[in-house]
């Protein structure tokens, strides 16, 4: 079809799209490119090298980063597991208990944290922990992470559950399954892609978090983002760019997997192939 006959075409928006993409990705690309820069300067190009990556794993700061990475990993995994479990239970309660008082309010309340400025949550968490006399440490980080991961895990899980027709659960109960068997054998497997997707999202959010972690962590405990921040305060070195690039890679992979799972989730249960 001739382009000028295409009514859905609005000329002039393409350059704007390009501008957005450049603004979004230029800094990331600079960091990625300069992580391969064979020069101690962070601005002058001195040829290609992998030595900053080697230094991340063997250099003087390696033990510090290793400990921080392990902390991050342990916290992200535990926080994501707990948050996903809670989010699954919440989604089941919200979407499979019929109409109840305060349903729409609950829905808003679950998702509201996504819109609260993170710094507010951070301060609130800090105040809350000290008010109840919690010693800042691993536990405070973990609890805080679980809490802010819940809405992120909830979204894909609830979206998935909404797409599952009630007919499957009715068929199961018609075939003598109890409520619990119906949940375990029908609802849970059908929700699996959504749950996986929610888990990965929660994992990434926890892994990347800086602000809240920085507020609630105890002295001497570092996660990868706080360790990177600590290093950067003493000047940006190319090995920081290497770490950042690695972290970016992990995030991109996980988000992609999460997205693919979510998409698969949208097509399977409604595909009735009549």
């Amino acid at each position: 079809m001739a382009a000028r006959l295409d009514l859905r075409r609005f000329p002039g928006f393409l350059p704007i799209t390009w501008l957005c993409l450049v603004l979004l990705y230029a800094p990331l690309i600079v960091v990625m490119v300069y992580s391969f820069n064979d020069s101690n300067s962070v601005t002058l190009w001195g040829g290609f090298t992998l030595r900053w990556y080697v230094e991340v794993f063997t250099g003087p700061e390696a033990p510090k980063f290793k400990a921080a990475a392990l902390n991050s990993l342990a916290i992200a995994i535990s926080a994501a597991i707990v948050a996903t479990t809670i989010a699954t239970a919440a989604a089941t309660a919200m979407l499979r208990s019929g109409q109840f008082r305060g349903k729409s309010v609950s829905f808003v309340l679950i998702n509201l944290p996504l819109m609260v400025p993170e710094i507010v949550t951070a301060v609130a968490s800090l105040v809350f922990f000290s008010a109840i006399g919690f010693q800042a440490g691993y536990l405070t980080i973990l609890v805080a992470h679980i809490v802010f991961c819940i809405p992120f895990a909830y979204l894909p899980i609830a979206a998935r559950m909404q797409g599952i027709e009630g007919a499957y659960e009715q068929a199961a109960q018609d075939l003598y399954a109890t409520k619990w068997q119906t949940f375990r054998l029908i609802l849970l497997p059908l929700m699996a892609p959504g749950i996986m997707s929610g888990f990965l999202l929660a994992f990434i959010i926890s892994l990347d978090d800086f602000i809240i972690t920085n507020f609630v962590k105890g002295a001497g405990i570092e996660t990868l983002p706080t360790a990177i921040f600590g290093s950067v305060k003493q000047g940006i070195k190319p090995n920081i760019m290497a770490i950042s690039t690695l972290l970016l890679l992990v995030s991109v992979v996980l988000v992609t997997v999460s997205y693919l799972l979510g998409r698969k989730g949208q097509t399977t249960p409604t595909n009735k192939g009549t």
Partner: protein
């Protein structure tokens, strides 16, 4: 019929169901016998699915009681009712293959794995799907999915099988083949089938008995012949097949017989439905029971308005004195004399097929 000594499988006792202010079922009373192919027939939105779902246990009813082989099932959850459903869109579990789908009910009942597998094979044989046992539901055609849904519901050997328009997704050829299969299956298994459809032809060809439902009320219950030839009211007469409803003066009904005075003054002695009463009323007669005849032998006369070609038949529309239009059918054979438009014709209404309806 000796209906009184047959065991009642499902009994509705003045059941009412309301959604908010809307009444979906109004005082429904119904006896469905054991080992019967029973059909719920009615237009879209009349409450067929609601009726079925209340047997399965997915709808609460507000008034009355539903009894399953004598037992009041109000307090039983769906998984405690020995009733299985073939859902309108099949609802096959998408993450299980055909065999696992069919075995599901047996597993939930605690049948041993080996026995469940054997039974699954049996019912898959029954619906001729042996070779599809390892397929996933989305790898099956609509007709195959329908059979899996049937096999899955039959596997636990329920006492009552509920089928909610299971044929509506199939094309005409397949639908006709499956009708016969379903009927045979019902006779072979001896399970009570309660079948929902809004297709009157489907209902007439398959059922032992039919309940015609409109707007949440049972209009009439009977076998195919009774429903078609002895309709109780105007709704049943015009929903099942085509009919002419002629305004007549009705005499006092006696022993199911009544004298009806046609427009033009001729009296016809015909059958009277329950609820027919003296005064003005409606006489129902099927188009194929209106015959053309010489004017001197006619009990009704009129002017031909239109002649419509229907293939095997011609439909002739005749305006009578009262202004009403009567449809008549003439078989499309070589000998047939087809009246032409504008012609004044005489018609003979077959008194044996004419019926004065109740209100």
């Amino acid at each position: 019929m000796a209906n009184s000594d047959r065991q009642v499988a499902v009994k509705f006792e003045t059941v009412s169901k309301r959604y908010g202010t809307f009444t979906a079922l109004k005082q429904v009373s119904l006896d469905i016998f054991d080992n019967e192919f029973f059909t719920l027939l009615g237009p879209s939105g009349c409450g067929k699915t609601t009726l079925l779902r209340s047997i399965a246990g997915f709808e609460d009813i507000q008034d009355g009681a539903i009894r399953l082989f004598g037992e009041d099932i109000a307090e039983l959850p769906p998984n405690k009712r020995s009733v299985n459903t073939v859902f309108q869109n099949y609802a096959l579990f998408p993450h299980m293959d055909v065999t696992e789908n069919v075995m599901f009910g047996l597993r939930m009942l605690g049948t041993s794995e080996a026995e469940a597998r054997k039974r699954a094979q049996e019912v898959l044989d029954l619906v001729q799907l042996q070779s599809f046992a390892d397929r996933m539901p989305n790898q099956l055609s609509g007709g195959q999915q329908q059979r899996v849904a049937l096999a899955r519901a039959l596997a636990p050997n329920p006492r009552v099988l509920l089928l909610d328009e299971p044929l509506s997704a199939l094309d005409l050829k397949l639908r006709q083949a499956v009708r016969l299969e379903l009927q045979e299956l019902q006779k072979d298994t001896g399970i009570t089938f309660i079948f929902v459809t809004h297709d009157q032809e489907e209902a007439l060809t398959m059922s032992d008995r039919i309940a015609v439902i409109n707007a949440g009320e049972v209009q009439q219950v009977g076998n195919a012949r009774e429903i078609y030839e002895e309709p109780n009211n105007a709704f049943v007469a015009s929903f099942i097949g085509e009919t002419n409803l002629i305004k007549v003066d009705v005499g006092e009904p006696q022993d199911g017989k009544v004298a009806a005075t046609l427009p033009g003054g001729v009296q016809l002695n015909c059958s009277a439905a329950v609820g027919a009463h003296a005064g003005s009323g409606h006489l129902s007669i099927r188009p194929e029971r209106v015959n053309f005849c010489p004017l001197d032998k006619a009990n009704l006369t009129g002017t031909v308005q239109r002649v419509v070609y229907l293939g095997t038949d011609m439909q002739v529309e005749v305006a009578i004195q009262s202004g009403q239009t009567i449809n008549a059918r003439v078989q499309n054979t070589q000998m047939a004399v087809i009246p032409s438009i504008g012609e004044t014709v005489g018609m003979q209404l077959d008194a044996a097929a004419a019926r004065v309806l109740g209100a």
